[in-house]
């Protein structure tokens, strides 16, 4: 029975604290204003949260109020004032959060619903697309003046979808088996992941290196750069000669890479920045083509004897030649960069 007594003592102690605080509060007339603001009934869930919080506080304070039996009537009023202040603080924060959340949600929804935002990027003529596709294979050695990049997304998007289709074809003919996923998902994920991921990465690098390029221009540049990949992969998935692939890889893939590098160089100032930016882009672009070819290439030789064993795991996507070739890649890319600079 001693514990309740101690608790009661504690409660009276807190009550004394409250009382001290109330004395401070009595100077200002804020309590009255808070009482007025208590009953605004705008229905938001965040406010309900605030009220719940407030109710919990109230319960705590009621316990405290029980301790002091002989509290005067006016003190209750002061208590309400206190609670009003706290509740309003919480409510203001909650209200602000609610407003910000609502604004963001409505903006996202209008983005989703309003397809017109994207329409300017699809404003092209067939002739323009054709010339841009051809231009993506022609590196222009004009470094002193910033080259023009069209901020357009139709061509890149279609090229990425074409690449997806070609990749599906390659996966099918190479009997690639992907666990925990479908071929379709892997192809789409690879192509879109490369396009969006590398574009964002290079854009970030360009920002660091102070290159004059926007995100849409970057997407367009890299997307049209995939044209070389499409040609190379389409040919080499059907005609299986390693030498042919390397010729295509260096010729077609190299040309499209050089074109992108030339454009980026013309828009960057400073040798170090140019080297970082273009080296990264060239290496990523060429290695991606190499990966796509060897990961989903039809493996004709060397697989038959390994499949003899009874408990062989199914052939996974193994890039066989990459370690050997990657040195050559680096050398060639380095040469290419050296040539362009």
């Amino acid at each position: 029975m001693s514990a309740p007594g101690a608790a009661a003592g504690g409660r009276s102690g807190t009550a004394a604290d409250w009382g001290g605080f109330e004395d401070n509060m009595q100077g200002g007339g804020s309590a009255v204003i808070d009482m007025e603001n208590m009953d605004d009934t705008s229905g938001s869930s965040f406010e309900d949260m605030g009220e719940m919080h407030q109710r919990m506080k109230e319960e705590e304070e009621e316990e405290a109020a029980e301790g002091e039996a002989g509290a005067a009537e006016e003190e209750d009023g002061e208590f309400l004032g206190m609670k009003g202040l706290r509740g309003q603080l919480g409510r203001q924060v909650a209200d602000q959060m609610w407003q910000v959340g609502k604004r963001q949600a409505s903006r996202a929804f209008s983005l989703y619903a309003n397809i017109d935002i994207l329409r300017p990027y699809f404003d092209v003529e067939p002739v323009q697309v054709r010339t841009r596709l051809l231009e993506s294979m022609i590196p222009v050695k004009m470094i002193n003046f910033p080259q023009k990049i069209a901020g357009e997304l139709y061509g890149p998007l279609m090229l990425v979808f074409t690449l997806v289709a070609i990749l599906l074809h390659g996966m099918k003919t190479s009997d690639t088996i992907i666990r925990e996923g479908t071929l379709m998902g892997t192809a789409i994920g690879t192509c879109f992941g490369y396009w969006l991921g590398v574009s964002s990465f290079i854009y970030f690098l360009a920002y660091l290196c102070n290159a004059q390029i926007t995100m849409v221009q970057m997407l367009s540049l890299l997307g049209y750069g995939l044209f070389g990949h499409c040609i190379t992969l389409f040919v080499t998935y059907n005609i299986h000669f390693h030498s042919l692939f390397y010729i295509f890889w260096l010729g077609v893939g190299g040309l499209s890479t050089l074109r992108m590098v030339a454009v980026l160089v013309s828009r960057t100032v400073g040798h170090t920045q140019r080297l970082i930016l273009c080296g990264t882009l060239a290496a990523l672009h060429m290695l991606f083509l190499l990966y796509l070819h060897f990961a989903y290439h039809k493996v004709v030789e060397g697989i038959l004897d390994t499949l003899e064993g009874p408990n062989m795991p199914p052939f996974q996507r193994v890039a066989r030649d990459i370690p050997v070739v990657s040195n050559a890649v680096l050398n060639t890319t380095a040469k290419a960069i050296a040539l362009t600079l």
Partner: protein, 230 residues
């Protein structure tokens, strides 16, 4: 009326309404039904009390009519005007089932899976539709989806033929027959969908709209051509 107004003015607001008295000699009765004009069966026939069989038959007839439209692609707006997704669903499921083949139970599932075909058809149709919307086409989302779905019909027929040919045997001749059939049906699908969709596009951009359609049907027909039952 005068009495009612007078009492209304005398009492508090609206209290006078209770005092409005209807004289005893007017009988409180009348026609409850809403008067409608001459009811023709064509205008508002109720589908609530018709047999279920009629409803289903009507829908099936509509779907069948659209199939005929795809097989004879004239410049007609019937496929566009009242769209439905039943036909595309049926075609898509049957194509996917046929492509599934016997690879469901075998360990080596290199063949196209049901979900893959399903996703390719629907995802592809959605992408083409969004593309045509972005290029400034004046066609609603589901209309385009409906047309693209119905135009899979020739390819489903090609798949059926391919399976029959494969039953006979698989050799060079069978492959050539399949190649011819699939290429012909691929052309048919593309032409039919282009005929329906091209009118809603700005004339200078038709090539840009046709390319994804071409790619879409090309992927499907390529899957059909390379299909071999396990």
């Amino acid at each position: 009326m005068a009495a009612a107004e007078g009492s209304g003015a005398a009492g508090p607001l609206f209290a006078g309404l209770a005092d409005v008295s209807i004289s005893e000699d007017i009988p409180v009765e009348g026609e409850i039904t809403v008067p409608v004009g001459s009811r023709s069966p064509d205008e508002d026939y109720s589908t609530l009390d018709e047999p279920v069989r009629d409803t289903i038959m009507r829908d099936l007839k509509a779907v069948g009519k659209k199939f005929v439209h795809v097989m004879y692609p004239k410049k007609s707006s019937a496929l566009l005007r009242d769209w439905d997704l039943w036909g595309p669903l049926v075609l898509c499921v049957s194509l996917a089932l046929m492509l599934q083949g016997g690879s469901a139970d075998s360990k080596d599932d290199g063949g196209p899976q049901f979900a893959e075909v399903f996703v390719i058809i629907w995802f592809g149709a959605v992408v083409i539709t969004l593309n045509s919307k972005l290029l400034g086409g004046t066609i609603s989302f589901f209309q385009s989806l409906c047309v693209l779905g119905y135009c899979v019909l020739p390819l489903t027929v090609a798949m059926l033929v391919c399976r029959l040919v494969l039953l006979a045997g698989s050799g060079t001749i069978s492959f050539i027959i399949r190649l011819i059939v699939v290429v012909a049906m691929f052309g048919w699908s593309t032409l039919a969908s282009t005929a329906f969709l091209a009118d809603s596009q700005p004339p200078n951009r038709k090539a840009l709209v046709v390319y994804p359609i071409f790619l879409f049907y090309f992927v499907i027909s390529w899957m059909i051509l390379t299909f071999t039952p396990q």
